[in-house]
């Protein structure tokens, strides 16, 4: 390891590893990254341990790209540790930026979660109702586990974040641009999302057929519908999150024949992605009577999962009232 190269860390919390694969997907370009920086932490691909990180001076890492939401006490500790060791901390990917799909767990209590997983699930055999314990002794050996907190949080709900790289996962282009900006010191204002600040529709090849004033008369579920491969999905009655979602992915899902589900989060002009989409649907609803409106809503059987699939922890809704923070 040379002293002159900037140090970079990759770390994961409540995540799936897809963000780490997204780094690997830099493919040939990763060789350039490896030449330009010293990677000092990357559990998915390298053998540096927590102790290595702890022994480094504060602020000695130029940038940490942290993916995953924060669910456990250990993830909280690691986020704090990496914050302390890093000059820049980037929330990398939808889970770190917004809470992500694991954030949907905020609709349920921790007890719901533990009860189903360890007792009620159909294949579990657990007559004595054993649960994982924070402190336990096994054959005389003390063992401990991190605590699962009452709710899932985005990274900036735990520590200060300098920049956000959106996506589930971020695309190689977005990642390359973010790493390039970091290494060349060409960074925008602190707190920026490092992706184009335009709606997804502006990058969608189906945009030409998006009606100026769409009138929603109902929504169809994708598995029950044959769709036209070129026409705007909203115009075909398929709920597509494009209008409320930031571009930058080049509209991968609509190109693949499926609607946008919103993984890049909102643009800078939108406070709450789900509320934005809801208001846009309400404004363009053909039906005016309550009964007709209810009929249209039948096509959206899971509003939270539709409008807040990646952003529940950061949304205005946040969490079930009865959930505690601890």
């Amino acid at each position: 390891m040379s002293a002159s190269k900037p140090k970079v860390a990759f770390y994961w919390c409540a995540s799936c590893g897809g963000c780490d694969e997204a780094i690997v997907d830099l493919a040939e370009d990763i060789l350039g990254v490896v030449d330009a920086v010293d990677i000092v932490m990357w559990p998915c691909a390298m053998d540096f341990k927590r102790a290595d990180l702890e022994s480094m001076p504060d602020k000695s890492i130029v940038a940490t790209l942290l993916n995953g939401a924060i669910r456990s006490s250990e993830q909280e500790e690691m986020a704090r540790l990496l914050r302390r060791k890093s000059q820049y901390l980037l929330a990398y990917g939808a889970c770190a930026q917004l809470g992500g799909i694991p954030g949907l767990a905020n609709q349920f209590s921790r007890e719901d979660l533990l009860n189903y997983i360890y007792e009620a699930a159909p294949t579990v055999v657990n007559e004595s109702k054993i649960r994982p314990q924070l402190e336990t002794e096994e054959k005389g050996h003390p063992l401990s586990l991190p605590e699962l907190r009452g709710m899932v949080r985005a990274l900036d709900q735990v520590v200060e974040v300098d920049y956000y790289v959106p996506g589930c996962p971020p695309t190689p282009q977005i990642t390359k641009a973010a790493v390039g900006a970091l290494l060349q010191g060409k960074l925008p204002a602190k707190g920026s999302v490092l992706a184009p600040d335009i709606a997804l529709c502006d990058q969608c090849p189906r945009k030409a057929t998006k009606p100026a004033d769409v009138k929603f008369t109902g929504f169809k579920r994708p598995h029950l519908t044959e769709t036209d491969p070129n026409e705007c999905l909203l115009a075909q009655g398929i709920l597509c999150m494009g209008p409320a979602t930031r571009g930058g992915c080049e509209a991968l899902c609509p190109r693949g024949g499926m609607p946008c589900t919103g993984c890049f989060g909102p643009t800078s002009r939108v406070r709450d992605q789900g509320a934005k989409m809801l208001s846009s649907i309400c404004a363009n609803m053909a039906a005016k009577e309550e009964k007709e409106i209810a009929q249209v809503l039948v096509g959206i059987p899971d509003p939270v999962g539709t409008f807040y699939r990646y952003g529940l922890p950061k949304s205005l809704l946040r969490r079930k009232v009865s959930l505690d923070y601890s």
């Binding site: 390891m1 409540a14 799936c16 590893g17 897809g18 780490d20 694969e21 997204a22 997907d25 493919a27 040939e28 990763i30 060789l31 490896v34 998915c44 691909a45 390298m46 053998d47 341990k49 102790a51 290595d52 702890e54 022994s55 669910r71 993830q75 992500g100 799909i101 694991p102 949907l104 767990a105 719901d112 189903y116 997983i117 699930a121 159909p122 294949t123 055999v125 994982p132 314990q133 096994e138 054959k139 050996h141 063992l143 586990l145 699962l148 589930c168 996962p169 579920r221 994708p222 598995h223 029950l224 519908t225 991968l252 693949g256 499926m258 589900t261 059987p301 899971d302 999962g305 699939r309």
Partner: protein, 441 residues
Amino acid sequence: MNTAAQQVWNEGNRNANARALQRRRFTIDPITRLEGHGKIEIFLDDQGDVEHAYLQIPELRGFEVFSRGRPAEDMPQITSRICGVCPTAHHMAATKALDDLFQVEPPPAARKIRELVYNAFMIEDHALHVYLLGGPDFIVGPDAPKEQRNVVGVVQKVGIEVGKKVISMRRRLRELIAYFGGKVIHPVLGLPGGVYDGLLRVVDFEGKEYAKFAARQYADFIAEHVETWSYVKFCYLKPLGWHGFEESATGSIYAVAPLARLNVAEGMATPNAQKAYEEFFSILGAKPVHHTLANHWARIVEMIYAAERMLELVNDPEITHRKIREIPKAKPRSGIGVVEAPRGTLFHHFETDDQGLITKANLIVATQNNAARIAMSVDKAARGLIKKGQINEGLLNMVEMAFRAYDPCFGCATHALPGHVPLQVNIYDRKRRLLRQLIQS
């Protein structure tokens, strides 16, 4: 080594051993070069030998719970977020569960496209393990410095040209998946309309068939056991009951993944893979093979099959047929899908209301099937490798190699020499701050 260096070396060894004895506990945190989180706690006895080593999984996200109330057709995309390294496996298992749920059979072209995507995924995912995750232990060396024991070291060792070839091959395979699936990490191609064409087969320690069952019967054969010290649940064969972490010919703990697959298979369906399969068993001896590290080799045999099968599929005129959808008409109720993921058998089970909203989800993921074996293999490797408090980074990595292979590591445990001179000694204080590092020249 000169005399002064030797003295420093010996003193370092004595200090390290004294501290090890004093503390009697070593932690590998986090375990690395895998998908997911884990740590290993190693406890030593008064002689500095291993009493027990535990691999603990420190987290839980709870997909089964927060799937409730969601439309079933969203499951291929939601469950792919269980794992972004093998999203295609979850995507396909969920899609097959939807086929079952909505009682719809996809047209032949759709099935072939799915199979093509899945085989492309099988190659690139196994290649990830060979070059990035497990491979560095063999290509660079199990006790190489940790700065080199990774993909960067692999590229240095094999040369930039070979490195680029592998990277480019993986990139192109992943582009192919993105072409068919919209996205490569978390694809969006799967809608109900495939069937699982096969039965699950379990063989015993001698290779005799113990059971053969359909995906629908999975709950009769597989059960999950809970321990206090890990968030992971440990699978076992339900009819045999849970008897603890016991290695025995009659035990209920079983294995999945490449080696297990080759052990239950009668052969491979493509010519070069069949040759590789025969070579595998002729060199390693009688079938079934129980050497854990043979998983790495088995992975290569499977890559050859996947590549050959891709070639067959792209040359099949039927794959370009325009009909690739079958719109479901039946009322949904319950659907079970199973695939052989790169890391083992993967079950998705969904139950819904009349609207197709999930009322109950149960997922048995590949690594969970292997969880008990992995725990045992880590313990066994630690016992075999660590003697008289002699611990170094290379040895600890060899303990990690036990989980990397996904099976008990007989190779490590029986072939490493206990007490051999370490290449590098890290001495930590009680707070795990690095006090001193000694490296053998």
